[in-house]
Amino acid sequence: MRFIVLVKASPDSEAGVMPSTELLTEMGRFNEELVKAGVLLAGEGLHPSSKGARVRCEGKKRTVIDGPFTETKELLAGFWLLQVKSKEEAIEWIKRSPFQEGEIEIRQVFEATDFGEAMTPELLAQEDRLRADSAAKAGR
């Protein structure tokens, strides 16, 4: 099972303040543990929402709104993608993370087989091609 670990933005991350060298060192150690255990598939940090944008969909109409998005408490600062056996295992990993504050959300990732009949054999084949190509691109 794959889980995504969503790290929420804080006033500091939104202001572009970088974590201390100490926290970065601990985070590096934690990432290394994840890699050694073979559970880490990907991980990225995001620039503050002030550099971002939102696209609102209304029928065919698209409205672009520039960041920052101060009205939401649910902004993302980064994520890990983990391959584990259960939600509990994902939670266990996060309990061991060097975070001292903030909130982290754990969500299971859809696999093609979760879609049932909506995922036709043609769509499944397309999905496989997509994953193979994307993996090649990511490794480039």
């Binding site: 990432n31 995001l46 550099k51 939102r54 909130e103 959300e105 754990i106 979760d114 009949e117 490794g139």
Partner: protein
Amino acid sequence: MRFMMLMIPHGYESAAPGTVPDDVERVGSMMAFNESLQKAGVLIGCEGLHPPSMGARVSFPGGKPKVVDGPFAEVKEVLGGYWLIDVTSRAEAIEWASRCPGGENEVIEIRQVQELEDFSPAVQDVASEFTSMQQTLKK
């Protein structure tokens, strides 16, 4: 430049456990959009997420982890899925998001991914191993 396109479907915050996209036409048009990203050579990855009612949140009051199971009653916006793309500008990322066959209730947030060179030299020193770790992951 790498960007995340974060799909925020309003209403998904209260979706029941086990909810999956079941509209064949909609899944099909989303797959066609994914394929257009792939054909243009910009797609690095994309995933959909099970509803928050099946998830959990970990916070750290007083430095100790506290686990709360979903759904998260107070939350108005949740992530439904994302794309990770490699494009030449923020405008190009917005252009791609605008082409997504999104529904009335959907918003796509575009956020640039941090690269090592975005950090100060001191931070780069400490974080440099992460890049080599990512290279390992990609192999």
